[in-house]
Amino acid sequence: MDAFIIQILNGLDKGSAYALIALGLTLIFGTLGVVNFAHGALFMIGAFCAVFLQQVLSISTVAIDETQKDFLGNPLKVETPYVENWFGPELGGAIIDWSVPLALIFAIPVMIAVGFIMERGLIKHFYKRPHADQILVTFGLAIVLQEVIKYFYGANPIPTPAPDVFKGSFDFGSLLGFDPNVIIYPYWRMVYFGFSMVIIAGIFAFLQFTTFGMVVRAGMVDRETVSMLGINIDKRFTMMFGIAAAVAGLAGVMYTPINPPNYHMGMDFLVLSFVVVVVGGMGSLPGAVLAGFLLGILESFASTTWATTTIPGINQIIIYLVAIIVLLTRPRGLMGRKGVMED
């Protein structure tokens, strides 16, 4: 039982990331009718917003302190971040420590801007082109974005720690009456899960309760009718693209402490997120979220020692296997609608 709960918990954080990316993919796909292969790159750019902010905050002055010696006997170089000079060591230190959550504030305008530029500058011209062209051009864009990041940040993962407060784990088991330290769950993963739930709830609320959201939902069902009503749907769709980009970016920012970001993380997540979208049902937002969490948890179960000793490497292929089975038995996915992307 305890092992069961642990695996569910472990699956939640990856599932959250899948769900958030898949949500953005579905929003873009449902509203704009575009398959965005660069969406994973947006996730990755978000993650590097956190890296960037952390590095900027850590820019330091170097002073030579004659009173201290290093192990060779030379005067010790003391690096003091500017932030600490300006705000004092305590507040400054805290700011650096909290750089990942702070990066959220930084990433929102950046990601929306990136989304706008992408949509207006590139994707817009591809609405009327065949889907193959859309796939190819966004695939090219994804390569370009990841190579640009690689150029500036190198190929190695960059550790980006969470604030100190969130280090360590929460003893989840003792809450449920298990022995202490049987079911423990890192604090930051809890934060990540909570964060993703807030974002998901926010998007659904936004689509459900605002006029903007209603128009977008209507547009997802029938774009032509909505534009016949005289509503400037294109403008709203551009904003939707910005929002989807921001969601992917924020998911990336918050994911950095769980997995140090590298330039190809976007591609890695993208393929799986596509599978998630297809399993959930193309064009279905609840389907994307549901499938994201389901597949995340499934992957986590497949990663247990028991599973991997029975079928070696099952954790690597389980998602694809499930996707193939789902598509063969329910071609429209778990919650797909008829008529979406069917030629």
Partner: protein, 401 residues
């Protein structure tokens, strides 16, 4: 002759002559000149040209004719390589049985994957093939490489070891893939004045297969079957209401293109007896898509051009470093020189993928018809003078009866 019309025959002859004379044509600069780095006439690179040419020709049969965009063809490339290396390990270094198994294995996998993936069309198909390719990659990279059952040798890659069985290996035979005793690696050099030309057995083996593949593709393009495949792309609904079952047609195209990919994978292992999982990654699938589109999807010559173009520039760009750049722009004033070098720097050396990505976008945005279309446009610009070539290109683009 050969069942081809005049234009096609000319095209085939041109391709054959270019392929057979490549060691000369691709080696225009004297060995000691500073431009020698632009030469492409050495075995390693020439082999890549023709092998990826085969890969792209096959991919074009699926994508160019039926419009089904597969993002998983690299899987067949990998399967071809693994199959060939297993023949080396168990039986013999002779490439003939190795190539045969490569093609057969790729066909079997293509049949399975195609049967499932082709139940859906459009984006679903692309994503399904992508998922299959990623699964194959994961299988090759880790799942099928555990102590109990090691089929792929994981990260290290599958290779031939001294203690392998090699049932039919004899002492006189080379310890390298060979064709009836003639090693794929053997190269004869012809020094001629300031030049040195290299003739490599492996290259010619691949080149002949590419010419055959090209011939096959012309015949297929011009056959009733090729017309049916174009009909699939054009209007599948009409096709079904005309009494034709489009699925076996697309499946046949998928399997044929998978076999081409398998052959290409086998040839990669014939020129270098090693098979690694990275060959199966989806970025590798993306590369063949790019080759086909860059050259001109649906045209005969396009994929070959695209493959050559990309492999050549990959090689050149990877070789250029800042030093070389400085040499080139040394005529400029110092400040400007550094600036220009800094500007170009991200795109060269390890930055090749960046250039590739940009190229990808530019081609899809501005030149969806690829180099062939670009050539036609230029031809039209220059008007009548180039008329002859123009019609040759047009013939390559629109299959005629």
């Amino acid at each position: 002759m050969l069942g081809l019309n005049k234009n096609d025959r000319t095209l085939l002859v041109i391709v054959a002559v270019l392929a057979l004379l490549a060691p000369f044509i691709l080696n225009p600069f004297p060995t000691d000149s500073s431009l020698a780095q632009f030469n492409a006439g050495y075995p390693d690179l020439m082999q890549k040209f023709v092998i990826f040419g085969i890969f792209a020709i096959g991919f074009n049969i699926l994508f160019g004719l039926t419009g089904y965009l597969s993002f998983g063809h690299a899987a067949f490339l990998g399967i071809g390589s693994y199959s060939a290396v297993w023949i080396y390990k168990l039986f013999t270094y002779n490439v003939i049985p190795a190539m045969m198994l490569s093609v057969v294995m790729a066909a079997i996998f293509a049949l399975l994957i195609g049967y499932i993936s082709l139940r859906r069309s459009g984006i679903y198909f692309s994503i399904l093939t992508l998922a299959f390719a990623q699964m194959s990659f994961a299988l090759a990279y880790s799942v099928l490489s555990n102590p109990k059952f090691n089929l792929t040798n994981g990260e290290t890659g599958l290779q031939v070891y001294a203690n392998d069985i090699q049932m039919f290996h004899r002492d006189g035979l080379p310890d390298f893939p060979h064709i009836f005793g003639l090693s794929m690696g053997s190269t004869s050099k012809l020094p001629l004045g300031a030049w040195e030309f290299q003739f490599n057995v492996g290259y010619y083996f691949c080149a002949i297969l590419m010419i055959l593949a090209f011939y096959f593709s012309i015949r297929l393009f011009r056959s009733p079957f090729g017309m049916m495949l174009r009909a699939v792309k054009s209007n599948q609904q009409r096709m079904n209401y005309t009494g034709l079952n489009s699925r076996p047609y697309t499946l046949a195209a998928f399997v044929i293109s998978g076999m081409f990919a398998g052959l290409a994978g086998g040839l990669l292992a014939a020129t270098d007896p090693l098979a690694g999982a990275e060959r199966m990654q989806w970025t590798a699938s993306g590369e063949v898509v790019l080759m086909t589109i860059l050259g001109g999807a649906g045209t005969l010559i396009g994929p070959v051009l695209g493959a050559g173009f990309i492999k050549y520039f990959e090689n050149i760009f990877s070789k250029i470093n800042d030093q070389v750049l400085h040499q080139w722009v040394s005529f400029m004033p110092d400040g400007l020189e550094d600036f220009v070098v800094a500007l170009i720097h991200p795109f060269i050396g390890k930055g090749w993928h960046l250039t590739l990505g940009i190229l990808f976008m530019l081609v899809v945005i501005f030149l969806p018809g690829g180099l062939v279309e670009g050539g036609q446009r230029i031809g039209r610009l220059f008007g009548r003078k180039k008329r002859a070539e123009d019609t040759a290109d047009a013939a390559a683009k629109t299959p005629a009866e």
